[in-house]
């Protein structure tokens, strides 16, 4: 009977590895390998005609494009940050209300929040373009009642792009916030009241600190995709506010400059990783999985 326990313990020792195998293979094939392919392209010279790439170890490409497109990086940074802040300000009260006052209808309210986002991203943005166009319903009404000057327009401005980003990424902010607020133990709140905290103090000293990981997760989940977004700028933006996502798209599709596009993508990824690293550093890596 002696082999059985040994075999069992060996199997038990292997179990974690076997269980993580599918995820590991997935990560390797669909993340690590493509990542290294992308990084290697930054050092290659590619033919725009055939698409074939030859390794030329051109280390200069990355600093070159970062320098060349610094302004577009800055625009993306500012737009994504603004959109994220707007989303946090809008969705915090919504998430708070649903978590604390939603009662039995919590799920219904959450679905109500998400229903518009069942429609394709592109279509939603195109509809905004339609609504906000100079002869569209909104501006026609405002101009007709002389609420705005006749040459006022929204499309083609940075405001339109930020608004589009804020609209499109709202659920990415609202849901992590909701999760953070929902999981706050009500007894902790009651304890605060028992200890003579008024509502304001209970909010600032209890609820807000307990929501910080959620706020940070919401920030990352909104900021990172918004930073690389090109759809909103393409559809709603004008000439003076190109975002880095558009540049990457053009480098790949129009210019066939794969090394340049890959370099910018690498920088974009680095910025995102920096955010996640900061999160892990400040709030501990254990809390990430609760929100992602």
């Amino acid at each position: 009977m002696s082999p059985t326990p040994r075999r069992r313990s060996r199997a038990r020792g292997l179990a974690p590895y076997l269980l993580s195998l599918p995820a590991g293979v997935w990560l390797l094939l669909l993340f690590i390998v493509p990542l290294f392919i992308m990084l290697s392209i930054t050092l290659k010279t590619c033919s725009p005609a055939s698409g074939a790439c030859v390794m030329t170890w051109q280390w200069g490409e990355l600093p070159h494009v970062v320098n060349q497109y610094r302004a577009q990086f800055e625009t993306s940074l500012v737009f994504a940050a603004l959109a994220t802040i707007i989303d946090l300000v809008i969705s915090f009260p919504i998430a708070y209300w649903i978590a604390f006052y939603g009662g039995r209808r919590k799920n219904f309210f959450l679905i109500m929040l998400l229903v518009p986002f069942f429609v394709s991203f592109i279509i939603r943005t195109l509809v905004w373009e339609f609504i906000l166009s100079d002869n569209g319903v909104v501006l026609t009404f405002l101009k007709g009642h002389h609420l705005v000057p006749s040459n006022f327009h929204v499309l083609g401005t940075g405001l339109a792009v930020v608004a589009g980003l804020a609209y499109n990424y709202l659920p990415f902010t609202a849901l992590p916030l909701y999760v953070a607020l929902e999981r706050i133990d009500r007894r902790v709140l009651n304890a605060a009241y028992d200890l003579y905290a008024n509502r304001r103090v209970a909010f600032t000293r209890v609820i807000l600190p307990l929501t910080i990981p959620g706020i940070f997760a919401a920030f990352l989940l909104t900021f990172i995709p918004a930073f690389g977004d090109y759809v909103n700028q393409e559809i709603l933006g004008g000439t003076a506010n190109t975002m880095i996502g558009t540049v990457i798209q053009n480098l790949f599709l129009i210019d066939s400059d794969y090394a340049g596009g890959a370099s910018l993508s690498a920088v974009l990824l680095a910025v995102s990783l920096l955010g996640i690293w900061l999160y892990a550093k400040l709030l501990g890596s254990r809390t990430i999985q609760d929100y992602l």
């Binding site: 725009p48 302004a71 933006g237 000439t239």
Partner: protein, 432 residues
């Protein structure tokens, strides 16, 4: 099928055996052509391994064409809104199927040259069928040149192009981008010119300067295609694009950059500019001639007017070609030549109003002589205008003056030139 085809096209009953005979006689000449057209190919292929020349000598030769058989199906990739439509069907394609048995799977999948090229390139590079037997590529972008230079197009069999030889117009026959029509046959042409809203713009003048007029600041649309943008910039600084130098390109780029920093440009648009012109977001725009014509057909947008500037307008041509590894090349050849029948072209043109590659289609619009009579009549309620409107349009059958105003694009001779061009004009489009 050949008899039916030739009856309706006018070329009197050519026996398939005779076609084969003709192709065989041409064999040696064809091979010689294949050997000479290598110029830029060597340049682009340098260091890239695959030698296209070696395989293409056989591909598309008379002997190769002789071995091809009709499969009665063809997969046709084209741009949207570019063929006659009636109740969700295409009368011209239906007639082709009725007379030849070739079923056309017509896909409106090409939105722009660059991205479509990126879609078919992996298949071509891997030696596989792209899924299309006919693709339509424009001469104003480098991709058509890439396809030719990499040996990724099947040389056409001129013995299977009786309509083309007979009816192709001088504007598109033997074009500079494909001497001798070795690989391509034009689908339609058009101008890249200026379109404006005549309700807002009261004194358009005749110059391209209207695009640079501060009066319309924030209301001017420009195209986001760097090759179109650069060519218009060259016209604006008084240079013939076809004869321009890199110094001229820099001058044009400066002019366009100024236009942008002066706040004149509303945005750099793809095909969507026409919607913005229609709904009033912009008053003046770089435009494709056929879009303005089609918008005008709709009485709601009668205010749009096409202006061919005195400095010239860019004449582009969309070209049908057969990508390598096509599974139905003979069906593709037959289909392509079918569109050079004046009767077919009259039906296509009545709907789409670009520059017609077949001048004889004008008479067919005015006095249809065959199947097109019923087709044109059935399209009429849809279009709402007499066929003479299309026939007499200078946008479709250009006058000598309009041909004189047409300019050709710069013919790039190396990848370095293409890169130099995009490095000048792409930053304008995507500048911060």
């Amino acid at each position: 099928m050949t008899n039916e085809m030739s009856n309706q096209t006018g070329a009197q009953g050519i026996d398939p055996a005779l076609w084969r005979g003709m192709t065989q006689r041409r064999f040696s000449r064809r091979q010689a052509l294949g050997a000479t057209g290598a110029g830029l190919m060597a340049l682009l292929l340098a260091g890239e391994g695959e030698s296209a020349a070696a395989t293409s000598a056989k591909l598309g030769s008379a002997g190769w064409w002789k071995d091809q058989k009709l499969h009665h199906v063809v997969n046709f990739a084209n741009w949207p809104y570019y063929i006659d439509v009636l109740a969700g069907k295409h009368p011209s394609l239906e007639h082709l199927t009725a007379t030849t048995g070739i079923k056309v799977n017509y896909y409106e999948v090409i939105q722009d040259n660059a991205s479509f090229y990126q879609k078919i390139r992996p298949s071509l590079a891997a030696g596989q069928y792209t899924g299309y037997d006919i693709v339509v590529m424009t001469n104003n972008n480098p991709q058509l040149g890439y396809l030719i230079e990499l040996g990724w197009l099947i040389p056409l069999d001129h013995s299977l192009m009786p309509n083309y030889e007979k009816f192709a117009g001088p504007l598109i026959k033997n074009p500079p981008w494909d001497p001798g029509n070795k690989y391509t046959m034009a689908w339609q042409s058009g101008w890249t010119a200026v379109g404006y809203n005549n309700k807002v713009v009261k004194d358009p003048g005749t110059s391209i300067d209207i695009l640079f007029d501060k009066k319309y600041a924030g209301r001017v649309g420009m195209l986001s295609d760097p090759f179109e943008l650069g060519s218009i910039g060259l016209l604006a600084v008084g240079v013939e694009p076809a004869k321009s130098t890199e110094a001229d390109w820099a001058k044009a780029a400066k002019k366009l950059q100024q236009q942008k920093s002066d706040g004149i440009v509303a945005a750099y648009y793809d095909q969507s500019y026409i919607e913005h012109l229609k709904n009033g977001d912009i008053s003046v725009s770089m435009c494709y001639s056929g879009d303005i014509f089609q918008a005008d057909l709709n009485s709601k947008y009668k205010d749009l007017t096409l202006l061919l500037p005195s400095e010239g307008a860019m004449l582009w041509t969309d070209n049908m070609c057969i990508p390598k590894y096509s599974q139905n090349p003979l069906d593709a050849m037959t289909t392509m030549d079918y569109f050079y029948s004046p009767q077919t072209q009259s039906v296509v043109e009545y709907y789409n109003d670009y520059i017609c590659p077949v001048p004889a289609a004008r008479q067919e619009l005015l006095h249809p002589t065959g199947w097109n009579k019923a087709a044109l009549a059935s399209l009429k309620p849809e279009i709402g205008l007499p066929t003479s409107y299309t026939a007499d349009s200078l946008d479709v059958f250009p006058s000598p003056e309009r041909i004189h105003q047409s300019r050709t694009y710069y013919n790039f001779t190396s990848q370095e030139e293409i890169t130099a061009w995009t490095n000048l004009f792409l930053p304008i489009i995507q500048g911060a």
